[in-house]
């Protein structure tokens, strides 16, 4: 008789809620004679996202009392790190849903499908972040990716959308294959696919020939580099960012990074943590290339979505810094970076989507000429969000960059710190060019953009986060630190 493993439902509640909500929405829309109104679906999805946030808070409290634990025969971890990731994903979902609804109305495309897919995709992202088993990470990755392939192709007006989806699919598939090959090899190297067991294995056995383990880890590293679009595995990002519907681009830039980075941290630092020095050269190369290429190629872009793609490549390099450090401070700082990046980038893309218009294709940087003059609040908001990504002081972005660079310095990576900061300086040029155009003399016959309520809220939220935590980053940093502590043994 099969003994079903015990299930700690609190640990998987976020995944269940998101996926259940997605299914509920799907079934409801199939069973109602009249079409489900986009507003109702949005409200429902938003509530679910909030519910996930609440659940994550309970998880946090539970872990504070009882300590981190594994459940469902070690497949899932319940720790603060996971709760933090859950909050970030849920927040990203909430914001994206709000933006996506307005986008759907503006472009006359259906919104409910977006909600269904976004929530299911988020479930995948959370799964990646809380998984303790490489197979589960793989499945989470696939749920995330497959949802995104479809979401990217959802814009029926533009052929480019589906083409981008194809490109994303092909490279995503390649990444998935490389990832699972790495898992297979790690399985051969350690005899397990469970991350914690793997670390036990490494702790208990001294491998005379660790090549196999390194090989598996390297393949997994490459696959993750694909997912987060780190150079040289970044080729897809600009095209896909450009082709995808704008809210989805924001979602990709934010939530995929959360899932991928946090899953990645678990694999590299928990599963293979004893071999950190092996990964450092690889990570070093990825970081240097990503930050420099992202920043310098971004300078030449005229399409803002492509520009933001390169910007996000640059940011991905920064996020990798914490991994390179590999210390508690490093994990906390990457967590901080990733989590704070979520609202900022989604809000940025919300504005980009607004400017994109009903056809969602006005993304030339010239479309922004004088926007800040016509609509000072919108312009100021965008300028602030960009400044935050630039890393200007007294914005959230500064502390994000500061914390990762500090972590790297702490771990002895002065060179890396210098290189990445210089890349940030180069990247500043394109953010500034954009900002400058934003406040340049306007074209005479430009209409004012209408800012719908939900999108306005998202933008305001992003700006508020940037400003408030830019001055007082303590709470988030505190959370991240505690998350990192619960993660490290």
């Amino acid at each position: 008789m099969i003994k079903i493993p015990s299930v700690h439902y609190l640990a998987i509640a976020p995944v269940l809620i998101f996926f259940g909500a997605s299914l509920a929405l799907l079934v409801t829309s199939a069973l109602r004679r009249s079409r489900l109104s986009a507003t109702a679906a949005t409200v429902f999805s938003a509530k679910c996202s909030l519910a996930v946030v609440v659940v994550a808070v309970f998880q946090w409290l539970y872990v504070s009392q009882h300590g981190a634990s594994e459940t469902i025969s070690h497949a899932i971890v319940l720790d603060r790190f996971g709760s933090m990731a859950t909050v970030a994903v849920a927040l990203g979902t909430l914001l994206t849903i709000l933006v996506a609804r307005d986008w759907a109305i503006r472009t006359k495309l259906l919104g409910i499908e977006n909600h269904i897919l976004i929530m299911a995709t988020s479930a995948g992202a959370i799964m990646m972040a809380v998984a303790n088993d490489l197979v589960v990470i793989f499945l989470g990755l696939e749920i995330l990716s497959i949802g995104l392939y479809v979401l990217v192709a959802m814009d029926r007006h533009r052929a480019r959308s589906a083409e981008a989806a194809l490109k994303y699919f092909l490279l995503g598939g390649l990444a998935a294959a490389v990832f699972i090959y790495g898992v297979a090899i790690l399985y051969g190297a350690t005899g397990t696919t469970t991350i914690s067991t793997m670390s036990l294995f490494f702790a208990a056995n001294y491998l005379l020939h660790p090549g196999l383990a390194y090989l598996g880890g390297a393949l997994i590293l490459i696959a993750f580099a694909f997912k987060v679009a780190a150079v040289p595995f970044h080729n897809w990002a600009p095209d896909v960012y450009e082709g995808a519907p704008t809210p989805i681009t924001g979602y990709m830039a934010a939530v995929v990074k959360v899932g991928a980075f946090l899953g990645f941290i678990r694999v590299i630092l928990s599963g293979l943590g004893t071999n950190l020095d092996t990964w450092r050269p690889l990570l070093f190369a990825l970081i240097v290339l990503s930050t420099i290429v992202g920043a310098s190629v971004g300078l030449t872009q005229r399409n803002v979505k492509r520009l933001l793609a390169y910007s996000s490549i640059n940011q991905a390099g920064f996020m990798l810094l914490g991994l390179w450090a590999g210390t508690g401070r490093g994990i906390a700082s990457t967590l901080f970076f990733v989590c704070t990046y979520v609202p900022v980038i989604i809000a940025t893309f919300a504005i980009v989507g607004l400017v994109g218009g009903a056809t969602d294709d006005q993304h030339d940087i010239e479309s922004y000429r004088g926007l800040g003059r016509r609509q000072p609040w919108l312009g100021a908001a965008l300028a602030l969000l960009l400044l935050s990504q630039l890393g200007a002081p007294f914005t959230l972005g500064f502390f994000a960059k500061f914390s990762v660079v500090a972590a790297v310095m702490d771990a002895g990576g002065t060179t890396l710190g210098v290189i990445t900061m210089i890349s940030a300086a180069i990247a500043a040029a394109f953010y500034l060019r954009w900002t400058q155009i934003l406040f340049a003399d306007p074209e005479p016959d430009q209409a004012r953009l209408k800012v719908p309520g939900a999108t306005g809220f998202v933008i305001a939220f992003g700006v508020a986060v940037v400003v408030v935590f830019g001055i007082w980053p303590t709470p988030i940093m505190w959370l991240c630190q505690h998350a990192a502590i619960s993660f490290l043994p």
Partner: protein, 499 residues
Amino acid sequence: MMHSSWWLSALLLVPMVGVAFVLLVRRRPGASYAVGVGVAALEMALSIVVAWMYNQHLTRTGIDFAARHVISAPLGLAYDVSLDGISLLMVLLTSLTLLLALLGARDKRREPALISWLLILTTASMGSFLAHDLLLFFLFFELTLVPSYFLISQWGGTERVRAALKFFLYTFIGSVPLLIGILFLGFKNQHYVRGALNFSYTTLSAVHLSHTASVVLFCAFGFAFAVKSPIWPFHTWSPITYAEAPIAGSIEMSALLAKLGSYGLVRFAIGLFPLALSDMRPIVMTLAVIGILYGSAMACVAGDLKRVIAYSSLAQMGFITLGAMSGSQIAMIGAVLLMFNHGVITIGFFLLVSFIEKRRQVNTIKDLRGLQASAPVLAVLFTIVILASIGLPGLSGFVSEYLILLGSFATNTWWGVVGAFGVVGAAIYWLWVYQRVFHGKADAKNLAVEDVTNKERWVLVPVVVLILLLGVFPRPAIDKITPSIANLITHVSYSGVDK
């Protein structure tokens, strides 16, 4: 008893509150200007009160108004402000710059935004001068870039976008090693004391560094401050930036932001890495001297007035650096004094140039001729400022330059000697400029130039008063500075290596 740090917080907060007010009244024409001027006056008043309250003998280090509140321990972020003699002069200069920039160089294009940026810039530079914590200093130091960038790129001349970007990139890249250096120090300290991350100046100045580390870190810090100052050869951003910036922006940048560099040099680079001084002194002083000569030479051939000011500033910054690095107490006092004086003089210059520009729409020297005839008062004011800048005894420039040269002769004779040629150089180019612009036979356009109005005269009154006052009676200022400088010198020489 030490004074409450709330005074300093007020100095930081008042401009930000001003921004809020400006944004509130932005729809009413002219109201934002009134608010701006009001805030500037309040700030000025506050600064004067603070200066009056400041007691340099309160602590051995000359620090007053100090307070430290940790904001985020893991990040090492703390709100840590204090005031000493050096900061005090800078605070006064900041307030003065804001007030005069607003009064003298009113720009009606999108006034609320302009004034907001100016106010933010004031907070940023005020914060840099008041920060006692290196991270906080860095935050404010970096923050100055943003308003400056917008001031130049939005209100500047035809080449404004390029100039703004150039300025931003230079200074931003310059600050990278600064940040890395700060972090290095912080972690060094943390690993040593095994406590929380702490970037307080007091803590970090106690960190024991190897000689090599000191040199490297000095270079890192020095680079950032050299770019900001600017010190030759890191100055290439400055002429185009000063030329393209709006007058208010030019005033802020050259009178105030440039001082951030030399302030950082004196306060942090020298204060934190005394071990590096013996190695770095010849190099930096050489650069300073080259800067003096180069600035003078370039000022001679510069084609327009703003560039002349820019290059003259380069030379003056060279003097400041020379004094700061010389290691003699007198020269350092002179350097700090010159920071203030140069600020005041530069304000005067830019205001006067803006008056000329307002009337003639150009500032190229070859288009101006014989203004003395049409605008005698302007000529007089210009003369006073020029003479102060040259260092005519009895005017403020003289005191500071004299102190610097005196100190330098004593410790580093040859650099002092060569540097002294800068004074001659200044005399040459300024007088030549004066000759070309104010003398000669004016053509019709130049004859039509009106003299300065009453309002403009009133704006220049503080400049002239300060020039004269500090020329004949610099005692109070020197008194305020001396304990801080003396403490710095003690700290440097206490580290044992420096003589």
